[in-house]
Amino acid sequence: MGSTQLPPGTEDTLAATSAAAAAPGEPVEMVQLLGPDGKLGSDPVFSDYAKRIDPEKLRVFYTDMARIRRFDQEATALQRQGELALWVPLTGQEAAQIGSGHASQPQDYIFPTYREHGVALVRNVDLAELLKQFRGVSNGGWDPRENNFHLYTLVLAAQTLHAVGYAMGIQRDQKLAAATDSTDPKAAVIAYFGDGASSEGDVHESMVFAASYDAPVVFFCQNNHWAISVPTEVQTKVPLANRAKGYGFPGIRVDGNDVIAVHAVTEWALEHAREGRGPVLIEAYTYRVGAHTTADDPTKYRESAEEAAWREKDPLDRLESYLRAEGLADEAFFDQVKADGDELAKYVRSTTHGLEVPDIRDAFASVYAEQHPLIAEELAWFEEYSAGFESDEETAH
């Protein structure tokens, strides 16, 4: 079974944070470094990881969170204007995504679900390409291998298994690399999913496989409290982080609105995985402030007071307070961030219109990797059929 061997000094913290020692139903402590008041606290293990984040990096965190929030607003507007078929907003979850994304290294492979626009940004996915799926011009939109960022997966939880299999592949590659004295950096995988998806059988099976094979995978669950209209309590009787114990690996709940803590915890977890110590489950405790998608109406199922309470914990506001209080960023910086955001929004707006509608012939071309007579036959029929219209047009002229 997966060893839960921890780096020196982490046992105590994990006993507290992962409920490795607590009964499954008991509340779990939450790792938090930057509180809603914008003050930096400490943690016996993760403060060491937080110390690696220099002021420049903090400013990057802030910039990226602000950029992706601005992008989110723009995409929502584009949907309202009929430019996108649907949009899946991330507002409220910026810290969970920017913090975890920045903890990954280029050789790590990411399996997102469908809301990880912030992670996509960090992984250098062109955000215009990311909109292709929502505009209905692609079922993907980017080359997953370019930035080791997989396509979005709309079937809940399916990607958690792909992540574990991919991690098993990395494990094998690392063994081969060790045998050949390769200097390739060690890699791990992050699988993103939601609290609702955690009820799907595939999440269970992925955790069983990950534990059994000690796969280098970090399960990153964004508990944003709602699966469309259904609250987390309907998905689980125990804090999600506590489930890891049942599989035999560490589970940590982190304040998902605290970008510093998310980064620290994810960095620790990825190191744990890359070093061959097995999987980790991170539950980022956060909140989906807006609607589930642009087709959703949250007023039908939740109190606005709940939303308001979570707005008090806003991930951007608290980092801004901290940066200002510590003198790590001045007004000019925040002005620049705002200008950057507007620039990004402008880029997205202009590129969306230009996203090319593909030719259905492209779809014929990629159903199979190798020649397939039925595809050839149907394409030939389509060509002939289309050509019929062209000659009709000619005769009409």
């Binding site: 692609s138 079922n139 993907g140 080359d143 997953p144 291998r145 997989h150 396509l151 997966t153 079937v155 399916a158 958690t160 298994l161 792909h162 992540a163 574990v164 299999g165 991919y166 991690a167 098993m168 592949g169 990395i170 094998r172 590659d173 063994k175 059988g201 595939d202 099976e205 992925s206 069983v208 496989f209 059994s212 492209d362 779809a363 071309a365 990629s366 159903v367 199979y368 990797a369 190798e370 397939h372 007579p373 039925l374």
Partner: protein, 326 residues
């Protein structure tokens, strides 16, 4: 030429692939030390170790889903689903993920996963151990579906399936596992392309199309028909997707009559697809309606009555009589 059973031929084919492709690996329930419930993977763990032959946790979605991840990382996973009736927990991964990843990535990603499924009835088994779900998968674009009917094909087709860049569902006719035949391990011959049909018996009066477990039944029916002075052509389809309509069409143009036999329920089955295509392609060559011989529209029945359910020589001969009566 060596003589071996179909089970042994698949075993040898897997051995050859494990030897030739260092990235290939087998995964499934009980396939390691036990060698699989049908012993198809017998001895392979000893030879290749538990990194190449994995006794997985008991989770079909997990097996296929992790195989997809391994394939994305450049490996060539061959999954065993223990029995036909237990593939359904993996149905989601196969149809919504495995089949579509190449298309969704516009060809940038390939998922060369092979899924081996022992299928079909005739062995007196209990519920969920005798089903023929091939049509469920054939309807899904992005998958290839093949089924060997003899040892030589089995040996080569499994290797070609593993080499194929597309996902392949490899249906093994479990009631023929112990059928012996000659295998030419040097020369694949017609098996070079596992997606092409073979004319296994030439004839001029009617064509019988079958695949997997029913090929020997179709041949026996054709032999029986010669006693009535009939010359019957038999086609072993081998591949259900893609389906080699050209070979079937050429045969029908010669014989004018077509019977299709499969164990799966007739309704919504592969036979209907063949009948429709042939009526489109060779309508004026048909002397009689295309006739299907298949299972009833019911859950696979209890073993004690499965003989009444399964297509057999008599049912095929009855269909032939009907066809020839036109």
């Amino acid at each position: 030429m060596v003589t071996m059973t179909i089970a042994k031929a698949i075993n040898e084919g897997l051995r050859a692939s494990l030897t030739n492709n260092p990235k290939s690996l087998l995964m499934g329930e009980d396939i390691g030390h036990l060698g699989g419930v049908y012993r198809v993977t017998d001895g392979l763990i000893k030879e290749f170790g538990d990194e190449r032959v994995l006794d997985t946790p008991l989770a079909e979605s997990g097996i296929v889903g992790t195989a997809i991840g391994l394939a994305l990382r450049g490996y060539l996973p061959v999954c065993e689903i223990q029995f036909d009736g237990f593939v359904y927990p993996a149905f989601n991964q196969i149809t919504t993920q495995l089949a579509k990843i190449h298309a969704r990535s516009l060809g940038k990603l390939t998922v060369p996963v092979v899924i081996r499924i022992p299928y079909g009835g005739g062995i007196g088994s209990i519920e969920h151990h005798s089903e023929s779900p091939e049509a469920l998968f054939a309807h899904t674009a992005g998958l290839r579906i093949i089924s060997p009917s003899n040892a030589h094909d089995a040996y080569w087709m499994i290797q070609k399936a593993i080499e194929c860049q597309d996902p392949v569902i490899f249906f093994e006719p479990k009631r023929r596992y112990w059928l012996k035949g000659e295998v030419d391990v040097e020369n694949a011959g017609l098996s070079e392309d596992p997606f092409k049909a073979h004319v296994v018996r030439e004839g001029t009066d009617a064509t019988i199309v079958a695949y997997g477990p029913l090929v020997p039944v179709a041949l026996a029916a054709a032999n029986a028909a010669t006693e009535d002075g009939r010359s019957i052509e038999v086609i072993d389809l081998r591949s259900i997707s893609p389906l080699d309509f050209d070979t079937v069409e050429a045969s029908v143009k010669k014989t004018g009559r077509l019977i299709i036999a499969h164990e799966a329920p007739t309704f919504g089955g592969i036979g209907g697809e063949i009948a429709a295509r042939i009526s489109e392609r060779a309508f004026l060559h048909l002397e009689a309606p295309v006739i299907r011989v298949g299972g009833f529209h019911m859950p696979y029945p209890v073993a004690k009555v499965e003989e009444d359910y399964l297509p057999d020589i008599d049912k095929i001969l009855e269909a032939l009589d009907r066809s020839l009566a036109y």
